[in-house]
């Protein structure tokens, strides 16, 4: 490994070629990463040349270089957004002090936990998408899947860099652990629940990238405010790539809806059986997928009341979404926030100290953002003259974390009995039949410009290439 040309093989702006300690750590880790990628990265992609966007620097021109490359040869770079000189901490107890370039000893454990948790989600995504390439609905979509894959891999690098650079031996151990855990593995699962869910079909994949990668956006935004400057700058750069993932999800679902609307209009029906016979995904099934992915994802924000969240904020490790744009005291002491709880068979709001409710604050910001996108999907239906509206379920629906875990709540927010839940769950969450039906549609279409029957072509190609461009060259 000593023959690596660091700036060529690992484009970076962290002065890697001069940092011998970091080089040694990465030299040990990198072969394991490649092995992990070979085992768990996209199946059957080894020989293909994929039209990928590679970041070679953090300026606008540098981080969007397009060209056909083999995924294994993708240059997983390490990038921090350009630093601000004299950046100060802008929230919490250390507000006004200089941002940290090194980790204060007392916050080491918490920061490590935050970085490892964030890092753990990145390879989990890769693992969850391993088999999807075999059932891609088009070459365009296949390329997008591969792009997401390499970027998730790069995000893993980004977190591993922080662990290696700032956490010594502990960091190296944690970095190894990131390659050892496996999504959905009963014995050694990924840290967060949603990342152990299977992503067996492309509808799930689009839902995952829409909802779950959006969680990524909000978590990264909160970390981009951190007093620990290298974390803030790393996550800021990651956000630029996360955007593409959300795009794949949002436009993917939008195209599914568009295709379904076309068939509904063509056949003049909303009959599920007829639409399924016509090979498109009916709107009730799409709604159930939304219900599932949304509820699983909002669990990722953690318990509604959390003393950890308060500590992370007060100590300056993790801010709020768009912390810098908010106009309050950025200390939040003595302020309150409303969270939900179930009392006497009803959902009621209660006021809790804002600092302890910061997970809920972030979740609510996320919800607003998610809902806006679902409204954009509704515009597609509206344009097609279909009066059905898709919506996200109530915040308390199907929750497994926090005060609402275990409470049975319908998508419209009624607390229901166990019996009603069991009787209705098939209407609310994807059933085995739904999943089997969606799976039955997943045949591989990879001829340039051709699309599976259940999805409409995109409005435009990647990097202004035509839709029928050869995004993937199979060799």
């Amino acid at each position: 490994m000593s023959s690596i040309n660091y700036s060529e093989k690992i484009p970076n702006n962290v002065n890697l070629s001069e940092d011998r300690t970091l080089q040694r750590a990465l030299e040990q880790w990198q072969p394991n990463f490649i092995n992990w990628w070979d085992d768990i990265g996209p199946e059957g992609s080894t020989n293909s040349d994929v039209y990928l966007r590679t970041a070679v620097s953090v300026d606008p021109q540098g981080w969007a270089q397009f060209g056909h490359v083999k995924m294994r040869d993708y240059r997983w770079g390490i990038f921090l957004n350009p630093g601000e000189t004299d950046r100060t901490i802008h929230f919490g107890d250390h507000k006004g002090e200089k941002a940290w370039q090194d980790i204060p000893g007392e916050y080491r454990a918490n920061l490590r936990r935050i970085i490892v948790t964030q890092g753990d989600t990145e390879p989990a995504s890769v693992e969850q998408q391993r088999h999807l390439g075999l059932t891609a609905p088009s070459m365009y979509d296949l390329r997008n899947l591969y792009q997401i894959n390499v970027e998730e891999g790069r995000h893993l690098w980004a977190m591993v860099y922080l662990l290696h650079k700032h956490f010594g031996r502990d960091g190296r151990d944690e970095a190894e652990g990131l390659l050892e855990r496996r999504s959905g593995d009963a014995n050694n699962p990924r840290i967060l629940g949603a990342f152990n869910e299977a992503t067996p079909d492309w509808l799930s994949f689009f839902m995952f990238t829409y909802f779950t990668d959006r969680d990524g956006k909000f978590q990264l935004c909160a970390l981009a405010e951190s007093a620990f400057d290298p974390l803030a700058r790393t996550t800021k750069f990651m956000l630029t790539e996360e955007a593409h993932h959300m795009f794949v999800g949002e436009s993917g679902i939008s195209r599914v809806i568009q295709r379904t609307s076309q068939k509904m209009n063509e056949l003049k029906t909303d009959d599920v059986a007829k639409l399924r016979a016509a090979g498109v995904i009916d709107l009730p099934t799409i709604q159930r997928y939304i219900n599932f992915h949304y509820s699983v994802t909002i669990d990722l924000f953690g318990a509604d009341e959390s003393s950890n969240a308060a500590t992370f904020y007060s100590t300056g490790l993790k801010g709020r979404y768009e912390e810098g744009k908010r106009v309050d005291d950025h200390a939040l002491k003595g302020q309150t926030y409303k969270v939900l709880e179930a009392r006497n068979g009803e959902l009621v709001e209660k006021e809790v100290p804002m600092l302890n409710a910061l997970n809920e604050v972030l979740r609510d910001d996320y919800i607003k953002d998610s809902v806006a996108g679902v409204e954009r999907w509704n515009k597609v239906l509206e344009k097609a003259g279909i009066s059905v509206k898709l919506r996200v379920p109530h915040k308390a629906f199907h929750r497994n974390i926090g005060a609402l875990a275990g409470v049975k709540v319908s998508p419209d927010g009624r607390v229901v009995s166990e019996a009603e839940w069991n009787a209705s769950v098939g209407q609310w969450l994807p059933s085995n039949e739904d999943r089997a039906y969606v799976a039955s549609l997943m045949g591989r279409v990879v001829e340039p410009g051709k699309f599976a029957n259940w999805i409409a072509p995109p409005v435009m190609g990647i990097n202004r290439q035509p839709v029928d461009f050869d995004y993937v060259r199979f060799n």
């Binding site: 606008p60 981080w63 270089q65 436009s251």
Partner: protein, 426 residues
């Protein structure tokens, strides 16, 4: 009317139907021109400096939308925040109503910051960025704005001395070749320049009509050599860009003129779309429809030079597109030009039982010859016609360059810098 005070901009807009509100553009914009509310991401026309930093980082392509607008009418942030979809491009008629002459160029064009430095890999393609704003080094110096609101004389009166139809009768559209004579009044012009016509009468608001701009189709020494006249190629407008019935004010006025009629003219305009004059300089012309006017002017000037025996000619290559050959202005006369003088390639998009063929298809077929010309620093490229042709043509040039083993980023940057690629699309 004061045309010079109508500031035209390319307004940068984000397509709310495609944008996923990921914040990448706002985060990356170096001048904080991008902002958002819970509904839309929008660009402040006052702040945006068209630096293009936001273009390639956008994952959706929604960021790359531009509208030609009079600066004072630029869409405000409030308007943009209320959009569910982008408003359509203003039609030439709507722009004219705001005082923007057809073909008016914005004061600043969006540019890609990657130029002129050659970069590896590809960045988002933007054909307009390769268009030169400088004329060829050997271009003659042209006069501009001799007549107009800011000049001593507000207009010059010309006499119609010719008006002939140059497309076949019986087709949907007629295109006319109109000759205007200036008598003893000075009106010096060069090939590639344009003039403005002031249609008589008033518009619905009882205001005088705004000027309509047309490319000159004749060479510098007159439609008839040695006479003080110019010719124009004008297609009668009976439909707007959306296909709705509309009677073009300028084009119908011009097409209906009789010999002896008087016309008010302003101009000339244009300092960049000018031909090279040095020996052995090659000219590649790519046009559709009435976009052929400046090409006719250049071809005719070269033909006269060749006839005089004083000019050591370069190569001329023409790619000319129309829906059918019957709708191609000057189809007959073009056929009579010697093959060793000009290499003509037609592309017809609506010939019955023939696959659609566009100018870029014809260019790709001639890639081998175009490649040689592209490598020659004495070759100048001119593109004129509808806006929609521009990207395809420049992409074809890029492919030709790459096939010839050239780096398009390097060649494209050189074409722009050296005034060797001129785009005039509307």
């Amino acid at each position: 009317m004061d045309m010079t005070e109508i500031h035209v901009i390319k307004q940068h807009l984000i397509d709310p139907e495609i944008c996923i509100r990921c914040n990448t553009c706002e985060a990356i914009c170096p001048v904080q021109a991008i902002t958002h509310d819970s509904r839309n991401y929008v660009v402040d026309a006052e702040k945006c400096n068209l630096c293009m930093a936001c273009i390639s980082p956008c994952p959706t392509g929604s960021i790359d939308n531009w509208r030609t607008m009079p600066r004072i009418k630029a869409y405000s942030l409030t308007e943009q925040l209320g959009w569910d979809e982008l408003p359509p491009e203003l039609t030439p008629e709507e722009l004219a109503a705001e005082g923007v002459v057809p073909g008016a160029m914005p004061e600043i064009e969006p540019v890609a910051p990657s130029l002129p430095a050659a970069v590896s890999g590809e960045t988002a393609f933007n054909s307009a960025q390769y268009g030169a704003t400088m004329p060829p080094w050997s271009a003659a110096h042209g006069y501009t704005n001799l007549y107009g609101a800011k000049a001593a004389e507000k207009f010059i009166t010309a006499t119609v001395v010719g008006n002939v139809r140059v497309t076949e009768v019986g087709k949907e559209y007629d295109t006319h070749h109109i000759v205007l004579d200036f008598g003893s009044m000075p009106f010096p012009v060069l090939e590639g320049q344009s003039i403005g016509i002031l249609p008589p009468g008033t518009d619905e608001a009882s205001k005088p009509h705004y000027a309509r701009q047309y490319s000159i189709a004749s060479p510098r020494n007159g439609e008839r050599p040695g006479y003080n006249n110019v010719s124009l190629t004008i297609k009668r407008v009976l439909q707007d860009h959306q296909g709705n019935a509309v009677r073009g004010v300028g084009s119908n006025y011009m097409c209906d003129l009789q010999i002896g009629d008087k016309v008010q003219v302003i101009g000339p305009f244009g300092t960049s779309f000018l031909m090279p004059n040095h020996p052995r300089s090659n000219i590649v012309m790519i046009c559709t429809g009435t976009g052929s006017a400046p090409m006719r002017a250049m071809t005719e000037w070269r033909r006269r030079l060749r006839q005089s025996g004083k000019f050591e000619g370069g190569k001329l290559m023409l790619f000319f597109g129309a829906r059918t050959k019957e709708e191609l202005p000057y189809f007959g006369p073009l056929q009579t030009l010697p093959k060793d003088f000009i290499d003509i390639n037609f592309a017809f998009s609506r010939t019955l039982e023939q696959p659609k063929r566009y100018v870029q298809d014809a260019m790709r077929e001639r890639a081998a010859d175009l490649g040689v010309l592209l490598k020659d620093p004495n070759t100048y490229f001119y593109v004129c016609g509808l806006k929609s042709m521009e990207e395809g043509v420049v992409l074809a040039l890029r492919d030709v360059a790459q096939q010839a083993g050239l780096s398009w980023e390097t060649v494209g940057a050189a074409l722009k810098q050296e005034g060797r690629l001129h785009l005039e699309t509307y």
